[in-house]
Symmetry: C2
Subunit: 426 residues, 2 copies
C-alpha cells in the first residue's frame, strides 16, 4: 500500500482538528481509500501544543526549510491563516514539489495566480476546498459536479459568526451589541470581530467561489461589501411581519451585462431554502442552466468540519496523479472583456421616520415616482406620537436610483430621518 | 485540444436532455474544460426522434455492435433504463474499452459488480452520478467530498414523484388517489406508478448511496420497503398539528450493531431541513463523524437536471486519465461480517379507533407498558360520536415491539380498528 507523508503547518483550531482526523482514521483510510496517510511532521512554535496532541517531539519543527526538504513529506497542509508567513511557506513547499492543501481564504483569493504558477512549475498539486464553507464540498461541486452548467447565480450564507448573531437577534429580539458580546464569550466571534461582522471574510470566500462558478477571476476589489454592525433589531421584526428573514448574503450573478458580486445584509422570503439556515450553519444556493437550483448546506467552520475538507483534499491529492490543480483551467487573470456591474438591481426595504402630518406620504411617493421606483408594500406604524416610522418595500429597481431617492426624501421638511435601507433578494 | 467522442444509447427524456446539453455547450466546454466533446452517434430505433433533435442521419444507429466498434467513440452514455438490453449494451461497451456513463439505477444496483469487473478488465471508466438524485452531485460528494468521514447516517428524499404527491396531499388536504391521477395527467407520475409509489425506485438509489456511504455493498433485499399508497390524508393533518411533516424517506444508518436500510413514509419535525424539501425536489442529509451534518438539495429528475449529472460525468471521464472507477475501492461484495438490522428502532405515530367507553385508554396503556413502550403524546379527538380516533406518539422503541403491541390492541373488545402506524424520524 502506498504511504503518503503529510506535514501540517500550524496547530491552531483547524490544524489540531486536521491532525486528530488523520490520527484517528488512519486504519479507516487504509481500508477505504487504499492509502496510508502518515503525519510526518508539524510546524509549530509552541511545542507543547504538539505534545498535548500526542505528537512525538522529533516530529515537531519550527523551521519551514526543514519541512519542505523532508523527503518523507509529500503533502503540506497550510492552516496558519493570514497572508504572511503563510504565503512564503506555501511557496516554499510548492517550489520543493510538495502538493499543498490550504484552508487559507485570504491568501488564496489574494495570491491565487502566484500560487498556481508556482504549483505548475514543479507539477505540485494545489487544493483549497477548506477555504470556503468549511466541511461543505462546494469547491468540488463547482469543479466536478456542476461543471456541465453555465452557472448564473450563486447566493450564499458563508459566514458562520454573522449568521449566528443574526439568528439570535431574530430569535431573541436583542440588539447587535449584546449578542456580539455573548457570541465572543461563547467563542462564536473573535475578540476583534471585524473580519466577520464587516463582511471581509465573506468577500474572500465570494471571490473564490464566484471565480470558479463564472470561470473568470473575480478580484476582491470588485465586490461590494456591507457588514451587519449597523443593523437594527426592529428592522428584523418589521421584516418578519412582512414574511422575510434577514441574512448576510454573498451574491454572485453572471448575466449578459456582466458579473455582479456583493456581500451585504438582505431580506429573503421565509419559504426560501436559505431562510432556514440558522445559527452557525452555512449554505450555498446555485443556479445552473441545466441543473436548475441546487443548495449545499452544512457547517462552515470549526476544527473537525474544516478538518474534514482538508483531509478530503489530502486524500484526493494522495490518490490522484494527473489532476494537480483544483482551479479553473482557462483563465490566468480577470479577462479583459469581463464587465463588473456596480449599479446592481434589487428590491429594497426602506424605513424612515416622518412627522405625523398630512401630505408626507404623498411627497415621498412623488419622489419615488420621479426615480421610477414602484412600491409593493407600505406600512405606517400608527403609534400615538409625534414621529411615526414608515416602512416600505419597492419593486426591483437600481441601487443608484434608490440612493438618490433616499437623499431627496431625507431633505423633506417633514421627514425626521431615513433610518434603514436593506436589500430584498431571492 | 483533445476531442472526445460520445455515443448516447437511447433518446428518451434523459437521452434527449443529455444531447441538448452537449450540443448547446460544446464551445463552453472547450473554453472552460479544455476538451471538445463531440456526439459521434446515437442508438435509437425511432430515427425520427434523432432527426427532430437535429442529429444527422448518418449518426443514428439501431445496432449496438456498430457503436461499440466505432473508433471515434470514447465514452458511451447509457440512458435506456431497466436491466435488459441496457446491461448487455453496457457490457459490450466496456468489453470494447469504452468508458460508460449511466443513469440506470436499477441496472447499477443489481449488477454493480459484474459491470465493475468488466470495466477493470479493459481499463475502461464507469460512472453513475446520474443514477441517484438527478443533478445533485451526491455520488461525487460521497466519493471525493466526504471521504474523510465515517458516515453514520444518510436520510434522503430521493423520489420526486412521491414527494410531489405528499406535498400536494399536505397542502390541499386531498386524498392520495385524486392527487396521483392529477400527477399522472401532469407528467409527474407514470401511467404505471408502482416503481415510484411503492418505493422501489428509492430502494435502488438507497442501495447505491448506502453502499458508497458505508463502504460495503448493500444489496436490495436487505432494504425494508413500504410505499405511500396507503397513507391517509387525515394522518398528514394530525401529524401537522403535532409539528410534523410526512415524507417518503430513504434511511441508512451504520452503527456498532450493523447497517440499517429502509424506505418508508415517516414524519419529521417541521424545523428539520428535510421538512421544507417540497414538490419534486430531492435532498440527502448526511452525518459524518468529522463534518457533522450536511445536506444536498436539488432536482432529482428531469431531462436537463439528470442530463447535467451525465454530462458532468462525461467531462470527468474525458479529463481524468487515472481515475477510472467512481466506485468503492475495497469491497467486492457484501462483506461477510456485515450485519443488517431488521428490528430497527424508531419513534411511532399510531392512530386507532376506539369505542367511546371508560377504561379503553387504560387497557391500551397497559399493553404498551407490557412491551416497554412509553408514550410522548396522546390526542383523543373528542368528536361526538360512538367511535373516537386516538392518536399517540411513542418514544423510541423497537419495530417488533410496536407490531406486537398493536396486534394485542387490535384484539381489545373496545378497539374498533388500528388504523395507522407511521414512523417518526429525525
Amino acid at each position: 500500500m502506498k504511504t503518503v507523508g503529510v506535514a501540517i503547518l500550524g496547530l491552531g483550531v483547524v490544524g489540531s482538528g486536521t491532525y486528530k482526523i488523520l490520527r484517528d482514521h488512519r486504519e479507516f483510510y487504509k481500508q477505504t481509500q487504499g492509502v496510508d496517510l502518515s503525519v510526518e511532521c508539524v510546524l509549530e512554535i509552541n511545542k507543547q501544543k504538539a505534545l498535548d496532541l500526542g505528537i512525538e517531539e522529533s516530529k515537531v519543527s519550527d523551521n519551514i526549510a526543514e519541512i519542505v526538504s523532508n523527503p518523507n513529506v509529500d503533502i503540506v497542509v497550510e492552516v496558519i491563516g493570514g497572508v504572511e508567513p503563510a504565503r512564503s511557506f506555501v511557496l516554499a513547499a510548492l517550489h520543493s514539489g510538495k502538493s499543498v492543501v490550504t484552508s487559507n481564504k485570504e491568501l488564496f483569493c489574494k495570491h491565487w495566480h502566484e500560487l498556481e504558477r508556482a504549483a505548475k512549475r514543479t507539477n505540485a498539486g494545489l487544493f483549497f476546498e477548506a477555504s470556503c464553507v468549511g466541511g461543505v464540498p462546494i469547491i468540488r461541486t463547482l469543479i466536478d459536479g456542476m461543471q456541465a452548467n453555465v452557472i448564473t447565480n450563486l447566493t450564499g450564507i458563508i459566514n458562520g459568526t454573522t449568521n449566528y448573531i443574526l439568528t439570535r437577534m431574530a430569535r431573541e429580539g436583542s440588539n447587535y451589541a449584546d449578542i456580539l458580546k455573548d457570541a465572543q464569550a461563547l467563542g462564536y466571534a473573535e475578540a476583534n470581530p471585524a473580519a466577520d461582522v464587516e463582511g471581509y471574510d465573506a468577500t474572500y470566500k465570494l471571490s473564490i467561489l464566484s471565480s470558479l462558478a463564472f470561470h473568470t477571476k473575480v478580484p476582491l476589489d470588485k465586490i461590494y461589501r456591507e457588514g451587519i454592525a449597523d443593523l437594527k433589531t426592529c428592522d428584523i421584526a418589521y421584516g418578519n411581519e412582512l414574511g422575510y428573514t434577514l441574512k448576510l448574503l454573498a451574491i454572485g450573478k453572471n448575466g449578459k451585462d456582466g458579473i455582479e458580486v456583493r456581500v451585504h445584509p438582505a431580506f429573503i422570503r421565509k419559504d426560501h431554502p436559505l431562510a432556514s439556515v440558522n445559527d452557525s450553519f452555512n449554505a450555498v444556493y446555485l443556479k445552473g442552466d441545466s441543473v436548475g437550483d441546487i443548495m449545499l448546506y452544512g457547517r462552515g467552520a470549526g476544527d473537525l468540519p474544516t478538518g474534514s475538507a482538508i483531509v478530503s483534499d489530502v486524500i484526493y491529492a494522495a490518490t490522484h496523479n494527473d489532476v494537480k490543480y483544483a482551479t479553473f483551467k482557462n483563465t490566468q487573470q480577470a479577462e479583459k472583456g469581463v464587465k463588473f456591474i456596480t449599479d446592481f438591481r434589487s428590491r429594497y426595504f426602506i424605513r424612515f421616520t416622518a412627522k405625523d402630518k398630512a401630505g408626507v406620504l404623498a411627497k415621498v411617493a412623488g419622489i419615488f415616482a420621479k426615480y421610477n421606483i414602484s412600491i409593493i408594500d407600505l406600512i405606517q406604524k400608527g403609534e400615538d406620537c409625534e414621529n411615526i416610522p414608515i416602512i416600505l418595500i419597492t419593486h426591483e429597481t437600481s441601487e443608484f436610483s434608490v440612493r438618490r431617492a433616499l437623499e431627496k426624501i431625507g431633505e423633506l421638511e417633514d421627514v425626521v430621518s431615513v433610518d434603514s435601507m436593506i436589500r430584498v433578494e431571492g
